[in-house]
């Protein structure tokens, strides 16, 4: 106790330590005020905490490395170690005193952060205990253990490197850089320059192992409410490792002979354990530039592979029933019983996302051979059985399932689906919505520490029902209204009223285009809001309607109606973006009547002129050009792009807003967009306008 008191006195009396320390405490207050200000202004608690607290915390960690080092190295600088060691457990006592002093000085800002989070919880005013638990865990992991790990690293460097400040501060700088996204650029070089995916993985492996602040300085990825800040079990393992491992290195210095050897063995075992646990980390949200990351993994994976089009593929069998036993721990572990309607076939094809490692396929008669080819599983006959048991485990970078959250939408092949279907659409840059045209009977049991919300009926993580797809969500997720599931911390939650309104907008639109058969009863289905992050790397699955439920990232009536209609009114080519967008707006009566564009009528003569020009303007090609030709090419390209937008918007306004035949036009283009026609959209619009306006 006396040693601790004297150690703390040294810290507080040394101006090189105490003045910056008090500065850091003041900084914590400033950061907290800024965070509060940001929250008050933008009403986004995760964004405020990310910007003002989580990202800059690496500087505070670096400061505690400095404190840990400078306070410990004092014994070496002042030639104390030799005579301290001459006493029974002298160095251990002295280092323990330093350790407890450091923990004390770390505890002060940590407590301030924790107090601020409690205040923030009160201020946010949402009575949602998982959010409070999340904030508490956040303060312990990001602002407690991380700071303690910093102090421990400093202490270990003092014990091992003594007064070699150059080495210590070089290591600290390297450590800091690894905890930011500034290392992304050099780490991507192996893949971009040498196409070495393995080296990139190895570099990021090391980086991840040294990452104390999972949401790094420089990261532009948002924090999504369902997941919150990354705090998967492996993050705790890493944080605890970086507290304990340096501690063993310090302790090694305190003993001689056998205990020293035992401690060295213990630290080596700890290192092995840390690396071992880290290696089986499973599904972790990687929000950075790497090839394996949330946003890029699938686009890169599918872009690198031979393009295969399975549109219209006939499986030749249907799946009558699924019995799914899922365990969600560090990743998804599944045993899925599949009952097929046609057990006499010679072979069966299934689609299962390539991230899931298929261990075995069994029937009642035992294991049967299978071949795996990316997302596809091929098996032979079932030997009289009609049920197959797939056992697999693994992860998807985007549709994660881990101890922190689950987002597994029914259209994604996280369980075997009949036949072959594409998972990613390279042309449309998004996931393919894979839904069978029939319903199956599902019995789903999920073993997880999380409360799981499912599109099927049930509770206590057990669900049963009929559908053409099963969606599972968990994390900071809840039933916010009857039959409506969303992230409680999200400001744009769907409501029963907004869903009813969207249904009315769609019904009106379907009736206008003469398709009452297509009216969708949205309010009869469960509504599961998907995280906004779903749109990060895909523009195809904003809203997906399954037979018993809807998954959508939209919340407002107009947005929801628009995204549903977007999934029906499919684009024909990239060039029809402006025309199709305007079409949807007029179809759903979503146009802004107060906008200047709608205050005046379309100058039809100018429109016809622009149409003529657009039609005559060649689509420029960029091959083998001189400088002069290149300048001309760029000017022509720009002009064509300008005209494309202007003609699209004006033609759409004329055809669907001003024309006396606007209902007919709406119907005509609805049939066009939902048909297999390959005509160019804008050409068709121009023809239509010319027909109306005459020669």
């Amino acid at each position: 106790m006396r040693l601790y008191k004297h150690s703390l006195s040294v810290f507080l009396r040394d101006r090189k330590l105490s003045i910056p320390y008090h500065g850091v405490l003041a900084l914590v207050l400033v950061m907290s005020f800024c965070c509060l200000g940001s929250y008050s202004r933008y009403d986004d608690v995760f964004s405020a905490v990310r910007w003002w607290l989580a990202r800059p915390v690496i500087f505070i960690i670096a400061f505690f490395i400095y404190c840990g080092y400078e306070l410990t190295v004092r014994m070496h600088d002042n030639d104390m170690v030799e005579y301290v060691r001459a006493h029974t457990l002298g160095l251990l006592k002295a280092y323990s005193a330093v350790l407890f002093s450091l923990l004390t000085i770390v505890a002060v800002p940590s407590s301030m952060f924790f107090a601020f989070f409690l205040f923030l919880y009160q201020r946010v005013g949402v009575q949602y205990t998982p959010f409070l638990v999340h904030l508490t865990k956040l303060s312990v992991l990001y602002f407690g253990l991380s700071l303690a790990a910093g102090a421990m690293l400093g202490m270990a460097m003092a014990a091992r490197l003594r007064s070699n400040r150059l080495a210590v501060y070089t290591l600290t700088t390297g450590f800091m850089l690894l905890n930011t996204t500034f290392t992304d650029a050099p780490f991507r070089v192996p893949h971009l320059v040498f196409n070495s995916y393995l080296v990139e993985r190895a570099l990021y492996y090391v980086k991840d192992f040294l990452t104390l602040v999972p949401h790094q300085l420089g990261s532009y990825f948002a924090i999504y409410p369902i997941y919150g800040f990354p705090m998967e079990p492996v993050r705790w393992v890493v944080a605890v490792f970086w507290v304990l491992f340096p501690l063993t290195l310090v302790l090694v210095e305190c003993f001689t002979r056998r205990i020293r050897r035992a401690l060295l063995v213990a630290s080596a075992l700890l290192l092995l354990l840390g690396v071992g646990l880290f290696s089986v980390r499973g599904s972790v949200l990687a929000m950075d530039m790497r090839n394996d990351s949330y946003a890029y993994a699938d686009p890169i994976y599918y872009a690198d592979r031979l393009r295969q089009d399975y549109a219209g593929y006939e499986a030749g069998f249907a799946i009558e029933a699924y019995r799914m036993d899922l365990t969600v721990s560090n990743e998804l572990h599944a045993q899925v019983h599949v009952t097929v309607d046609n057990p006499g076939r010679e072979g069966y094809e299934f689609t299962l996302y390539h991230g899931y490692i298929l261990k075995s396929v069994r029937t009642e008669g035992g294991e049967i051979p299978f071949t795996r080819e990316g997302d596809y599983v091929s098996i032979g006959g079932l030997n009289g059985s009609d049920t197959l048991v797939f056992t697999y485990h693994g992860k998807s970078p985007k549709f994660y399932a881990n101890a922190q959250a689950i987002t597994l939408p029914g259209y994604f092949a996280y369980y075997p689906k009949a036949g072959r279907s594409n998972i990613w659409d390279l042309d449309r840059y998004g996931y393919v919505v894979n839904l069978p045209p029939y319903e199956s009977v599902y019995t789903v049991k999920v073993r997880s520490g999380l409360k799981v919300f499912c599109s099927l009926a049930g509770g206590d993580n057990g669900f049963h029902g009929r559908s053409n797809g099963v969606s599972l969500f968990a994390g900071m997720y809840d039933e916010v209204a009857h039959g409506i599931y969303a992230e409680p911390m999200r400001s744009d939650q769907p409501t029963r009223e907004s869903i009813l309104e969207a249904e009315q907008i769609l019904t009106d639109a379907f009736l206008r285009v003469g398709h009452p058969d297509m009216v969708i009863a949205l309010s009869d289905k469960k509504f599961l809001q998907t995280p906004a992050s779903f749109a990060l790397n895909s523009n195809t699955d904003n809203t997906v309607i399954m037979s018993d439920h809807i998954v959508s990232s939209s919340a407002g009536a107009q947005g929801l109606a628009c995204s549903i209609m977007t999934s029906i009114v499919r684009p024909k080519s990239a060039g029809d973006f402006w025309f199709r967008t305007r079409y949807l707006s007029y179809l759903l009566r979503g146009q802004d009547e107060t906008s200047l564009a709608l205050q005046s009528e379309v100058d039809t003569s100018l429109l016809l002129e622009e149409m003529e020009e657009w039609l005559l303007l060649p689509d420029p090609r960029a091959n083998n050009m001189t400088e002069q030709e290149r300048a001309g090419y760029l000017a022509a390209k720009r002009r064509r792009s300008e005209l494309e937008r202007a003609v699209s918007e004006k033609a759409a306004k004329y055809l669907f807003y001003e024309s006396a035949r606007k209902q007919e036009n709406l119907r005509f283009f609805f049939d066009y967009f939902t048909s297999e026609s390959t005509e160019d959209c804008l050409q068709l619009a121009i023809t239509r306008v010319r027909e109306e306006l005459g020669p």
């Binding site: 006396r2 040693l3 004297h6 006195s9 040294v10 009396r13 040394d14 004092r74 014994m75 600088d77 002042n78 030639d79 104390m80 030799e82 005579y83 301290v84 060691r85 001459a86 006493h87 029974t88 002298g90 006592k93 002295a94 001689t256 002979r257």
Partner: protein
């Protein structure tokens, strides 16, 4: 009381101590040797800071690494000694008392006695950073005598002390040596001459001489012949080491 038996210490390939054997009872022992002779290594081995490759250090006929109480009975002043400059001298002594396991109730008395011993009692409330180099050295001696140790290993204790302080130190050692073993490693042969009853001369990691200081003086007289001048330990030491050279 403390003995060294067949002690060998190597650093890498370099053997610094060659099969050293010594035995010391109560009294003051002067350890003399040139730079690099192995004095500090020997003292560190005796303090239990270095593990020898061969041989052992015995305290009360038991190896020190198996003896839990040895370090409690040891007072050690290393060649390089420093203190935490942010603490006061008293706090630093209290820090050392705590390391030595001296009960809190006894600390104040122990510290006062130790500081008085080195004539620093008036500086007790001053920060260590305000002390001169000589004062820090005296504080080092004070911390070594805290807790009334039975064995005192002092490595260059008088380095940096002014003549009056050295004289005071010599007198103090005469007091200390009555009921304990004091091993004094030094370059300053006068200190050994003044306060040590026994001398150990080490050269190149080997003991050249170990015995009463009078015997070393006798060696000098025998070898140089009677010159009329009173023989000193220095004469004996110089003859021994020059003979080797």
């Amino acid at each position: 009381m403390i003995a060294v038996r067949d002690l060998c210490k190597r650093f890498g390939r370099k053997e610094v101590l060659h099969s050293i054997s010594l035995s010391m009872g109560n009294g003051c022992y002067g350890l003399l040797g040139a730079n690099g002779a192995g004095k500090t290594t020997l003292i560190r081995c005796m303090a239990g800071l270095f593990e020898p490759q061969r041989g052992e250090v015995l305290y009360d006929n038991r190896p020190i690494h198996r003896l839990k109480g040895f370090q409690r009975d040891l007072g050690y002043l290393p060649q390089a000694f420093g203190m935490l400059p942010e603490l006061t001298l008293y706090e630093m002594m209290d820090y050392m008392c705590s390391l030595k396991g001296i009960p809190r109730s006894q600390c104040a008395g122990e510290i006062a006695q130790a500081l008085e011993f080195v004539n620093l009692e008036e500086w007790a409330r001053e920060r260590v950073r305000t002390l001169s180099g000589g004062m820090v050295r005296r504080a080092g001696i004070a911390q070594a005598v805290l807790g009334d140790p039975k064995v005192l290993l002092l490595d260059e204790p008088t380095a940096g002390l002014d003549p009056s302080e050295r004289a005071r130190f010599r007198n103090s050692v005469r007091e200390l040596k009555r009921d304990r073993t004091v091993l004094l490693s030094t370059h300053i042969v006068e200190d050994v001459d003044a306060c040590c009853d026994n001398v150990i001369v080490i050269h190149g990691g080997r003991i050249l001489f170990s015995g009463p200081s009078d015997e070393l003086r006798e060696v000098a007289v025998r070898q140089a012949g009677h010159t009329g001048k009173k023989p000193t330990v220095e004469d004996g030491y110089l003859w021994l080491t020059n003979g080797i050279a």
